[in-house]
Amino acid sequence: MSDLEAYRAKAAAWLASMAPTFGRDARKGLSEADDLALGRRYQKAKFDAGYAGINWPVEYGGQGLGHLEKVTFDAEEMKHGFPSFYFGISLGMPVPVLMQFGSDKEFVKERVLKALQGEEIWCQLFSEPSGGSDLAGLRTKAEPDGNGWKINGQKVWTSWAHYSDYGVIVVRTDPNVPKHKGLTYFWVDMKAPGVTVRPIKLAGGDSHVNEVFFDDVKITDDHRMSPVGGGFAVAIATLMIERYVATDSAGFGPHLDLFVELAKEVQLNGRPAIEDGRIRQQIARNHAMRSGLDSINVRARLMMQAGMIPGPEGSLNKLVAVRSRQKLSELAIDLQGSDGFLFDEHASQKEDWASSWINAPTGRIAGGSDETLLNTIAEKVLGLPQDHRPDKGIPFNQIPA
């Protein structure tokens, strides 16, 4: 057994031992407040067992291991339905960026340790009502105020802001230069006066994203994490941190096996649906697509293991998997006919077709819309030109509205 396989086996055994306390079944019927409390205890248990901050420096409470161990653990962890997602953004991007760019090392260390143990949660304040894909077009501004800054504006789609203690934020500090050059990166205290968090109820019924309003929120200059006007580079660094995260060829929806089971149970025209050519074709096509993504992911892991940099094809996973999941979920509802009306808003997207279906549009938009991902592949991988960009090279305050 390789070292990595030994690591996987040990992690899998530990995770299995945690499942009765923190897993899918233990969470059934809990209110969100109770689920979050359970999540905090699970995060602490991970920390105590050496599974928090797996690839983070030891000096910050991490384990000092590699990215491979982290991805390996995540892939195993995904199987049990633990309440770990409350910390996914926090530990995925804002806190690593704080470690990299935070200026007060003692403060940073204290925050990182609390975040790793589930005591504090961080959010990422990037998207705005004026645009999500066009990050550099943001309008929230910070103006000099004494020795510090004063923030005014609005962010949106901020995951878990309502539970967050801190956030990282990109704001405009100079509207007189082209849009990428007038941004600065800060951290903020989410409990500070002038910060208002308002949850947004999504189509599927849950409310994990928020609007966040900033009204004369005052911060000192030691909150700054980039040079003044140098915020865009740190924002991009934030988004680049987890390029090869543990992926899911099911598009974070149900496994294809569940569709096959359904097709074997259900009758169409008096015969099992599994014998219907239309259903068979979709099963075959989805299997071929998912096995291709799985093979891409395995190859990426092998390359990292061999000290190589994986190719850009890893970026296909979300694009291809989520939109396929959307259509397959529609077909699964079709298959159930009038039994398909049944909807449980607390059901898991990974196990329930209606839940998978109603939440699929979020998956196709959040974290880079399908269209943005296609642009990225076309421009960064294939070298095709950017679209017509009338805002290019023009000071932000002169861009035609």
């Binding site: 075959a284 071929a288 697509m289 291709g292 093979s295 061999a306 291809v320 991988v381």
Partner: protein
Amino acid sequence: MTILYDEGQQAIATESRRVLEARVSKDALLPLLEATGEYHRPFWDTAKEQGWTALALPESEGGLGLGLVELGLIAHQAGRSISGAPFLTSSFGAAKAIELFGSDVQKARWLPGLASGELIGAIAFSAGPDVLPGRPDVTFASDRLDGTARGVSGGLAADVAIVLANGPDAPVLALVELAGVQRSAVASFDNSRLIADLDLSGAPAETLAVGDAARDAALHILALQAVVTAHEQTGGAEVLMEIARDYALTRRAFGQPIGAFQSVKHRIAELYGLVELARANCVHAAACEGAADFITAAAAARLSATEAYDTAARDCIQIHGGIGVTWEIGLHLHMRRARSLAIEQGSSLFWEDVLVDRLAGEAA
């Protein structure tokens, strides 16, 4: 086996690409479309000279002892250059049938020639839309075949064929020498595939497998060939994606390169996705030759590669506009090849059923 190519495998890919790009051009391929019974001999000479015919056969039989991964790499490059003959796949399939199911005498008689490329093999399993027929049109009795094997790729030039025939009690996988067999060329949209109807009436034949074993053997040979063909399809799709990209970068309309329009650039980005999924499935399938889930992996490779090549042919021509449909630019070479490869080794309809039977636990 790992799905990461080692240095030797990477060298095979680089060298085969270099050789084929130097020796195969569309100017040589276009006239073959209008001639029945002709194929691009320099391609086959290259395959023999480079040892590609021997690559995946055992050393004991005159081969080089490598496997599907290496042959797949060659096929990928052959697909990029629209290879001029179907034998890279069909001779391999015939040789594998003899290696796996033949007697020592049969191996000694045929394998060295197939490995050197001096002899050419063909596979005749299907009867029209029926890829592995339960009751084949060709019958087998008293060591002789009767009937016609239809639409056999490479059949016009082959020296030996592996035939799925209807025996007295059960299907038979039979080996037939084609020296005295009457063949008629099928006028095809892709003539250099040398497609022929073989009139097997009275041809002496030898048994390789009988009954369920014959069907299982035929499916296994078909799956081996499907993985080779899937690499070829992926190579074709890949080069079409590059051609589309290059054209979109240079062709201008409304004051800008057409690649700046999202309707065009997204189409090419989607091709990238199809090519990479097909490539990943191909490598996985080639690496699991001999494993329990080989048929499943072969089916996935075949399905994604067929989709990639057909879609790339369609979209690459569309992106070119009017020039794309001219004879001279030759994109129709790919469009034709995409379809002929989609039929050879069983269409997607066949492989979808093979795959779902296995996923649903209904495999024979």
